[in-house]
């Protein structure tokens, strides 16, 4: 039996409740609500799921069951430069696994993790549809195509420098 309290910033509570309300607090709209909330927060922390459960009048367990079912939803914040390596078949047969390995090595993190300074996170995804450019890596929204393992450190360097500049400014 719970009587635990969770603490969330006021504007976050209001925004999430507003999202739920925009879908008439219908539990059938759960996935749309989660999409919007993730768009807003960048991820779906437990607190956000509790607020959604309350607003849609469903159990938090169901919300969590749904969040953990779909790979698009994440309970961990992503890095500022999220790296997604396409592991679609076209990319796979053109060596995407080597690209992933190289990223793991260069960033020193596993797939699904974010590095210590929160700059890079590494994920794999299924087919971005740029099969002609296989193997393909997405950094944020930008597509890097026709990659070889050697390109990985250059890409990482490029973004790290960009990021360092931004941080200075």
């Amino acid at each position: 039996m719970s009587s635990i309290k969770i603490k969330v910033k006021k504007e976050i509570i209001e925004k999430i409740e507003e999202i739920c309300k925009s879908f008439d607090n219908q539990s059938g709209e759960l996935i749309n609500v989660l999409h919007k909330t993730q768009e807003y927060l960048g991820y779906l922390p437990a607190e956000a799921q509790e607020i959604i459960a309350r607003a849609l009048n469903i159990s938090a367990a169901r919300v969590y069951g749904v969040v953990s079912f779909y790979s698009f939803f994440s309970m961990k914040p992503k890095g500022k430069c999220p790296v997604s390596v396409c592991m679609g078949t076209a990319c796979y047969v053109r060596g995407a696994d080597k690209i992933v390995d190289e990223f793991k090595k260069v960033l020193n993190i596993a797939v699904g993790e974010t590095d210590n300074d929160g700059v890079f996170s590494l994920a794999s995804l299924r087919c971005v549809g740029a099969c002609g450019l296989a193997p393909v890596v997405l950094v944020g929204d930008k597509v890097h195509g026709r990659l070889a393992a050697d390109d990985v450190k250059h890409i990482v360097k490029e973004y790290r420098e960009q990021f360092a500049k931004l941080a200075e400014a």
Binding site: I31, N32, V66, F69, F72
Partner: protein, 597 residues
Amino acid sequence: MATYKYHVLICGGTGCRASQSNKIIDNFKRLLKENGLEKEVQVVETGCFGFCEKGPIVKILPDNTFYIEVKPEDVEEIINEHVIKGRKVQRLLYVDPKTSEHKADSKHMGFYKKQLRIALRNAGFINPENIDEYIARDGYKALATVLEQNDPQATIDIIKKSGLRGRGGGGFPTGLKWEIASKNAADQKYMICNADEGDPGAFMDRSILEGDPHSVIEAMAIGGFCIGATKGLIYIRAEYPLAIERLKVAIGQAREYGLLGKNIFESGFDFDIDIRYGAGAFVCGEETALIHSMEGFRGEPTFKPPFPAQEGYLKKPSNVNNVETFANIPVIINKGWEWFSSIGTEKSKGTKVFALAGQINNVGLIEVPMGITLREVIYEIGGGIKNGKKFKAVQTGGPSGGCLTEKFLDTPIDYDNLLAAGSMMGSGGMIIMDETSCMVSVAKFYLEFTVEESCGKCTPCRIGNKRLYETLEKITNGNGTLEDLDLLRNLSTVIKDTALCGLGQTSPNPVLSTIDNFYDEYLAHVVDKKCPAGQCKALKRYVIDPDNCIGCTACARACPVGAIKGEKKLPHEITQSLCIKCGTCYEKCKFNAIKIQ
């Protein structure tokens, strides 16, 4: 500056190159120069024309003359006759076998073209964000016709007679599906479009939605009218932002024109469409899972019956079709079922869109009539294997399909033939593999996908596929036994027999088809502990060839685990028990002394 009068396009595809197309180019360049025409005539090498059996192909612009079977020595005549005198070289033109007529103009030589674009008719042709361009290409005419006729059953009959089958993979007859849904009375029904394209390596649905969203909207309205649904829902992957955007624009435009909404074409028929988003679950391509997902639940399939046609979205009769299926509908109405059913094979009518990918030159989206052979697709449309390597296998049907070998290259592609060959049509991914692909690893790749995408509801899929994957991993790690091969087969058969939904029932196909077609390769892994394709890291052995090694120590310094020992200027040696097979030494060696066994 010169302006070219003529352009000579010479096919640079693999087939034409093999029959000396490069020599033809050389001859053109040389002879044009000799004649002082190099400023007036431009010679350009192009990609494959897809008519390799009559290559080399030379095409002259702007008059579109199409010469076939051109030999290097014919170049002189073409220049003298065509370029200088403006007369076509009759003997090099294509002769229509039926009429014995010489065909000069490639525009009227469609028959040689391997592709026929029905579902993709507008993609790459019209501006997808402009409804007018769609209407200019007969858009919404089919809907208007259907509504004017006002006879849902008659339209269903047309679709039935056309022989159209579901393009999402299963191949269920579309007309029959509509008929069943139309017969279940209810106060509300739903027409659902499955745009949750999850097959890794297939992107035809996305291309259609991005290139021709109105064709899907129009077809959904037609289907809605036929089954008695006033509401359409498109379940689309959230990973397709552009397709979503274009769909939204298209729906908005259709509403403005009154082609969606109340009283369409003043027929009294109301129909509107909402978009629902997927969230990254392959299993949601299964229609019951898709419906649960749209209702805000985990995308777990449920046992059928009840079928969606009986109890679908919100427990109301619903019909689910895939994007490509819908894209065919308006054409069938406009051009008639007779026309449509004249294309394809006996049991598979029309065309199929494939996403060609992998080790093939022309990676891309193609649409071909059913019945075309894999050979035509791979060598004539796809331009052959990349880097001149040897063809090994073609994988169709994605994680539900199988790997087909050379012996199937001349099998006509249709639903039933692919199934009989141990694969399936699937949504249309077609991955070409060359000799560098290890087939055990390919099977493992697909199983890894299935394991990750399994919803976890039924035992065979949740645990069975995991065990299949683990066994394959054991084999690629060099720890497999002959008994494992037996167990793989038995478990695969049981999973196919017992899994709850289509995903599970087809998930062992990549294993079974590779065991069947590449048993030797499995044996090599298990018995000889070797990976013939050289892909399995654990089975690689790096050794130093003492004859080539000069003892430069570059490899020893680079080895991250200190597995390489040796005196300076003397041959080095790799301690196998320490080697982690990272390949660093192989890359560092400048003397080709490190060999992979």
